[in-house]
Amino acid sequence: MRITAAALSDTGLTRGGNEDYFSIDNSTNLYIVADGMGGHLAGEVASRVAVETIKKNVNHWVTNDSPEDELFDFPDRSLSKRANYILSSIKLANRLIHEMAKEFAEYKGMGTTVGVLGILPSIAIAANVGDSRIYLIRGDTIEVLSKDHSMVTEQVELGLISKEEAENSPLRHVLTRNLGSLDTVDVDVFEIEPMNNDRFLLCTDGLTDLVSDEEILTVVKNGDDPKPLCQQLVSEANKRGGHDNITVSLIFVKKQQDVSQGITRRFWHLFKGE
């Protein structure tokens, strides 16, 4: 399996600072984006603490092949071990940010969203809190592998407003969950089997507020090098006003073409005369 990844974070056109943060860790194939919130510099601190905490702990647990029962908080038995590493690290980051916000006056009220993607040869794990999204682009389709934890999503699910109304709602930036507000957090985690040529996109709402899923699909399929495509996505958002920080991370998966699948695999050595 070969993975090429790139990421880009842009302040956008109207905000004074960038409260988004991202990380690419090729040693564990772990990709993270976060969108911080909170006055002064607190938002920037929250997103950075979240990303670094998740990255550091997943890396540590992978290196030590830590048992699931020794992680922070209880493991989720419906998930793979690697997914539990990711889940646990997100819960740990939440606790850390929550404690910091409680302890220091200048961090009061700080919080962050987070989107995490982990890739193993047989499993891709998508985990998120808040409204940062994870997309899977497979062939000509685009699919969201995350859940938006926002008021408008709940309103749509309950049938109180339509999807169109949601896009223009004054509540569209009101989250129902983030890292930092409470001492525990619920995380949505999804697992899929990665396929050859799968493309993943992690992004903050600075992109998805302004660029539709179909437009994202068009850009992501417009080349094979993720780096210039990240720039194109950011430019699309800025062309439409860039009212928020924009962060995108593209991860392209290439799996070796299997000559040796199924029956051929088991008898391949015979064909090769070994």
């Binding site: 499993i123 497979r138 004054p170 930036h173 899929i192």
Partner: protein, 239 residues
């Protein structure tokens, strides 16, 4: 346009309209708002207007500037803020238009609502619309073998269920031609999807699937000589 109302000893002394980009407050006659009192510094504080926000800054005055009884260095003024300089008070008032704009802007910044307020807001909205909020129970997928094998029914309790010959598969299928993983079923935000991982044909309702397919209740899946049906049922409460 915002206004500043100068109050001393609970009496309104003067009403200033905010007509410029910036206004200064102090004892010196050159100020826009002159307060002739020894507790007030010559140039005590200033207010600057940028777009729809008003920023109050203390000009290192001797006795300090207070907003709602808290000492400030600089402060973004909100409607009805009380600014205290010496013994005088300035009441800051925004126009209706400015108030609603400030409110909108406030909402444009990401924030989090606590669970109690979320529920309150949703309940109020549901009442207005005459909609009953029904919390639907989470559904879980089940596959039921219909090929006469002794597999019976299997609940898809994992987020990702592997189907194949490998010992680590959640659903183990035998047969000479069965690959270690023939297919996976994953629970995604939009439902359960079956993915053919290669090595053998995976059919849903007699159609060979390429890559992924979102399962519907009572779809019939065939892998090798195995045949099973997919459906969802309400999850029983655990523990």
């Amino acid at each position: 346009m915002a206004r500043l109302i100068l109050v001393f000893n609970k009496k309104v002394i003067k009403d200033y309209a905010f007509e410029k980009e910036g206004m200064t407050i102090g004892r010196n006659q050159e100020n826009d708002i002159v307060i002739d009192n020894l507790a007030v510094s010559g140039f005590h504080a200033r207010i600057d207007k940028t777009a729809d926000t008003y920023i109050l800054t203390d000009l290192q005055s001797t006795n300090g500037t207070f907003v709602n009884d808290k000492k400030i260095v600089s402060h973004r003024l909100q409607h009805k803020d009380k600014i205290t300089v010496g013994k005088h008070m300035l009441l800051f008032a925004m126009s209706k238009q400015e108030q609603s704009r400030a409110e909108e802007e406030g909402l444009d910044r990401t924030m989090v609502l606590d669970t109690a307020r979320q529920k309150e807001l949703l309940a109020k909205q549901a009442e207005e619309k005459g909609v009953d909020i029904v919390v639907t129970k989470e559904k879980i997928g089940v596959i039921s073998f219909v090929d006469g094998s002794d597999q019976g029914e299997i609940q898809l309790s994992k987020k990702l269920t592997k189907i194949g010959k490998a010992e680590t598969s959640e659903v183990r299928l035998g047969g000479l031609l069965m690959p270690s993983t023939a297919a996976t079923i994953s629970r995604r935000p939009n439902g359960y999807a079956i993915t053919s991982t290669g090595g053998t044909k995976v059919k849903v309702n007699n159609q060979v699937i390429k890559e992924s397919y979102f399962l519907k209740d009572f779809d019939i899946i065939e892998i090798g000589s195995y045949k099973f049906q997919f459906y969802t049922q309400e999850r029983e409460d655990e523990k």
